[in-house]
């Protein structure tokens, strides 16, 4: 059996036809991990209960139970709780923390009989675009080990590329699934805000966060999304997925919009060239390409860097060294807070807390936070208008291919600019997918680029439908 080219779909078929066993499939990935994880630093931990997980899954298959995820080995980002397993969000402060309950997504994949191999490296508390902010060292891009895998779900993307897992789960607050998917040449889906429960996901920016799959193919993305999605009583922002809400069904996708004005600067010439080829390919597939004026899209990154840190500063207040996690003792309670938070939170996390505290402080909240919310609504209404005329929007995922380790880590603004084409989807709430669409040459190495397709709320079906046609 050629394990390398298996997908969730084909492996699932092989498992159900008894051509392979769950153990054989897991052993393939575990062998790759044991050979290369030390160099790439993708998995932070391989779980110790794999034997039991494998046995349960094999029994389900033998009894004809389960679904397409049964027996499929996956990895999970280190900010998604699994009961009784360590979950550190790649931070020092939660180094020894174990989940006291299962996140809803973990429960769903466990119920389906998928094998959770272990937890994956990330930027600390999902804050970063390169996985360089992990307290446990950078993850290396498997396609060029001098380069970053992107972030913050860098481990989740690299695991799929390095064949350490069939698929993985990541989280996306401003591009954290799509940008690493683009850098590592895999498929990454940021689902509609609220379509996947965040119960048990460590909160970063609650009006933006969403969990989604990273996979080899669009088909696999659809399979894993269908397993994790759905309204959850334990997440009050989760929504009912009513297909009737889609005014245009997926087989009626005709027009694809391209915001050309937004792509004039800040993007590498050859990345733009790949995007233009992809647009031509969509045209050749029969879609009508429409030029869009999304005038306020240019404010999205600025809006994001007000609202996200504001929410971060509130969400991170829970790490006080009292309730859970590590603590550094002070002479009194207040000093304990200062030492714990100053000493155990990483520098990017501290920077965002300070920035968030600033934009929320009296005298500045009107100027920054309130204004940013208003502009966010303006951008949202621009997209609502755009989707009256087009069925999908196409954009590049990232302005560059994977950059070098250390290249941007000293300059936060440069790092933040790598989110320039992704943050709007989180601000608006709409689903977006990154699909590998070619390579560009950097110092003799072929590095992948990504095509980003964006649909209206709950339009994931459209992304899968057009994505599958595009991928062929």
């Amino acid at each position: 059996m050629d394990f390398k080219n298996l997908t969730i779909k084909t492996a699932g078929e092989a498992l159900r036809k008894k051509e392979i066993t769950v153990r054989e499939l897991c052993d393939y990935y575990l062998k790759n991990i044991s050979e290369k994880n030390k160099e790439l630093n993708v998995f932070l931990e391989i779980y110790s209960d794999l034997d039991e997980q494998i046995e349960t899954a094999q029994k389900m298959i033998d009894n004809g139970e389960g679904n397409e995820m049964t027996g499929i080995p996956i990895g999970i980002k280190d900010n998604i709780l699994v009961k009784g397993k360590k979950s550190s969000a790649s931070s020092k402060i939660l180094e020894d923390y174990s989940g006291t309950y299962n996140s809803t997504v973990a429960q769903k994949v466990i119920d389906s009989g998928a094998i959770i191999l272990g937890r994956l490296n990330m930027d600390e508390f999902a804050m970063g675009g390169s996985t360089e902010n992990s307290a446990y060292g950078v993850t290396k891009n498997p396609l060029d080990t001098e380069r970053v895998p992107g972030g913050s779900s860098g481990g989740s993307a690299a695991a799929v590329t390095a064949d350490f897992a069939m698929a993985t789960l990541g989280s996306d607050t401003g591009g954290s699934i799509r940008q690493p998917a683009s850098f590592c040449g895999v498929v990454g889906l940021k689902p509609t805000y609220g379509s996947v429960s965040r119960h048990g996901l460590m909160a970063m920016a609650s009006s933006l966060d969403v969990i989604g799959p990273l996979t080899k193919t669009i088909e696999d993305s659809e399979i894993l999304f269908n397993v994790i999605k759905g309204k959850d009583e334990l997440d009050s922002t989760s929504v009912e997925l009513d297909p009737e809400m889609n005014s245009v069904r997926r087989d009626e996708v005709k027009k694809i919009g391209v915001p050309k004005n937004y792509l004039k600067e800040g993007i590498d010439a050859d990345v733009l060239e790949n995007f233009e080829k992809s647009v031509q390919k969509l045209k050749d597939l029969g879609y009508e390409i429409v030029e869009l004026d999304l005038d306020n899209l240019k404010y999205s990154l600025a809006v994001y860097y007000v609202l996200m840190p504001a929410e971060v500063s509130s969400n991170m207040a829970r790490y006080d060294g009292v309730k859970y996690g590590k603590s550094i003792e002070g002479d009194n309670l207040a000093e304990g807070y200062l030492k714990t938070r100053g000493g155990l939170l990483g520098s990017e996390v501290r920077r965002r807390i300070i920035l968030g505290t600033y934009v929320l402080s009296a005298g500045y909240a009107d100027e920054y936070y309130d204004k940013a919310w208003k502009v966010r609504n303006l951008i949202k209404s621009d997209f609502e208008k755009a989707f009256e005329n087009v069925d999908l929007i196409a954009m590049p995922t990232a302005p560059t291919p994977a950059f070098k380790i250390g290249e941007k880590s000293e300059d936060p603004l440069q790092m933040y600019l790598s989110d320039i084409f992704t943050v709007f989807a989180n601000l608006v709430g709409v689903p977006a997918i990154s699909i590998p669409d070619g390579v560009v040459d950097r110092e003799g190495k072929d590095l992948p680029t990504g095509l980003q397709l964006v649909a209206p709320d709950l339009g994931e079906d459209r992304l899968f439908e057009v994505g599958k046609k595009f991928g062929k």
């Binding site: 609220g194 306020n296 300070i354």
Partner: protein, 112 residues
């Protein structure tokens, strides 16, 4: 933004930050704020650009609120406080994650 501003903010956020880091942070955050300032140019004449998130709509039931995506006008969704689980079933695992505890209580330094 200067070092003193960062110092004040760090006090508010209860974080001890070294002098060197405060210098660097002032520069970094200054450049990010320079970028952010462009939101002031955004045209806000549109009638749809209503104010921020906290506009709870009291007459909207939980089902209704959940049936549409309203990421820009988030509403509170309440659930009934009923059918509690058995008291104490999570105590041990939660206490196990605290830095310091005694007799199933979280232990802190004296507050007053």
């Amino acid at each position: 933004m200067n070092k003193d501003d960062v110092k004040k903010l760090a006090d508010l956020a209860k974080m001890e930050i070294s002098d060197t880091e405060m210098e660097k942070m002032a520069t970094d955050i200054g450049s990010v704020l320079g970028y952010i300032d462009q939101i002031k140019d955004a045209p806000l004449a549109s009638p749809k650009s209503f104010a921020k998130a906290s506009v709870p709509d009291s007459d909207v039931s939980a089902e209704k609120a959940g049936s549409r995506i309203e990421s820009s006008s988030v509403r509170n969704v309440m659930i009934e406080d009923e059918n509690p689980h058995e008291t104490g079933i999570n105590t041990e695992s939660l206490i196990a994650e605290t830095p310091d505890s005694k007799d199933n209580y979280i232990k802190t330094k004296k507050i007053l």
